[in-house]
């Protein structure tokens, strides 16, 4: 086994997460940009887990409650995200149906599952290569924002389709829950510290772990 290169934490150096300058953590604040210094994101796993839990709780209402209501000549039709997708599928607009399915249903679910898995791995509950886990993390961070597309569709339709009694679109309760899922998973991804995954290697190799890094600030 090749000895790995030294880490910043081993020398008491903190990497500023805003400007990237390396400073001894004893200084508390980055001399270049003034940001508070931490060896690891503070309470990273607890915050990520809490935000994930909240997102998970909202996931069902987000998909089961209608995101918008279309009233056409007195007929009221509420539609959920899944129904919106099915409608495109029926009209043979397959590419757009797939886009909605991926952005609105798959990405939030994958994000919640993946981040839960990452938290478990950083906690030492499951073992996987940090390199692969790191990739997954980068992926969830990159894709999360695209789930917002359905909220924007609701916003556009509500603003455009205002024809009084003839045809009107109003937002539904599902939209709020859905926006909540997207924003909460984005915050969860931001609070997760991928360095914890690599720290696991140190802890599992060393017979006497110096101190669990999650407890440090």
């Amino acid at each position: 086994m090749i000895p790995h290169p030294p880490r910043a934490i081993d020398q008491g150096l903190a990497n500023c997460h805003v400007c990237g300058k390396l400073t001894p953590v004893a200084k508390h604040h980055c001399p270049r940009c003034g940001t508070a210094l931490h060896l690891r994101k503070p309470a990273s796993l607890q915050r990520t887990a809490a935000l994930l839990l909240a997102a998970g709780a909202l996931y069902l209402p987000a998909n089961l409650l209608p995101v918008m209501t279309l009233s056409e000549l007195g007929d009221i039709m509420a539609s959920t995200i899944l129904e919106g997708m099915a409608e495109f599928w029926r009209r043979q607009a397959y590419p757009i149906a797939i886009v909605i399915f991926v952005a609105s249903i798959m990405i939030p679910l994958i994000k919640i599952v993946a981040l839960t898995w990452l938290c478990a791995a950083a906690n030492g509950k499951v073992y996987s290569s940090p390199r692969i886990l790191g990739r997954i993390y980068g992926f969830t961070e990159l894709l999360g924002r695209w789930s917002m597309v359905d909220i924007f569709v609701v916003a556009i339709l509500v603003a455009l389709v205002q024809f009084g009694a003839y045809m009107t679109v109003t937002p539904g309760p599902g939209a709020l829950a859905f926006a909540g899922v997207v924003v909460l998973t984005m915050f969860a991804a931001m609070n997760f510290d991928p360095r914890l995954l690599w720290d696991r290697l140190e802890i599992s190799k060393a017979p006497d772990p110096p101190q669990p890094p999650a407890d440090r600030e």
């Binding site: 390396l22 607009a93 909605i100 924002r145 455009l160 024809f163 937002p171 984005m186």
Partner: protein, 197 residues
Amino acid sequence: MACHFCDTLHEAVPVPEGTAARCKRCGVVLYQNRPASLVRVTAFSLTALVLMAIVNTFPFLTMEANGIRTELSLAHAARELMREGTPVIGWGVALFTIIAPLVMAGGMLYVCAPLLIGRAAPGARHVARWLGRTEPWNMIEVFLLGVLVSLMKLGKMADLYFGVGFWAFAALMLCMAGAVAGIDRNELWDRLEVAAE
């Protein structure tokens, strides 16, 4: 310097223009040397600000059904959501499509333009810190996809016309992407440090 992904220490060696240094342990990009970074960021963010003014003054989409016309603009969409009983989502839409891009473009211009002549604008450090925080919430490209999906949804119900605002918005998306891709974090902070002294 240290890798922000796995905390491995590295010697910061200069890399040729247009290339990036990667972490030897986890393979993540450590830093990049982006050519003419400041000029690019300044130019793109200035253009983005002009386009934003156009986007928010001209109509975005016009829809016609049964002889009635409705118009869409960004602010209108957000206001309509606030009025229809979901103010949280209305504010969200305003934040993601109007406020965040404005903060990003304005902030980048405020920080980078004075740096071109070697000066640091007052409070540039704080503004630069906020840029990173605002970036994930700038969702104009996602909104554009939303417009596309909405068009498919409405296609059969009514006649739709693109306004000047729509084309300006598409150009705005490209400008914002160009400006953000131009930021060279290390160079920016090094120059800010030097300029502040």
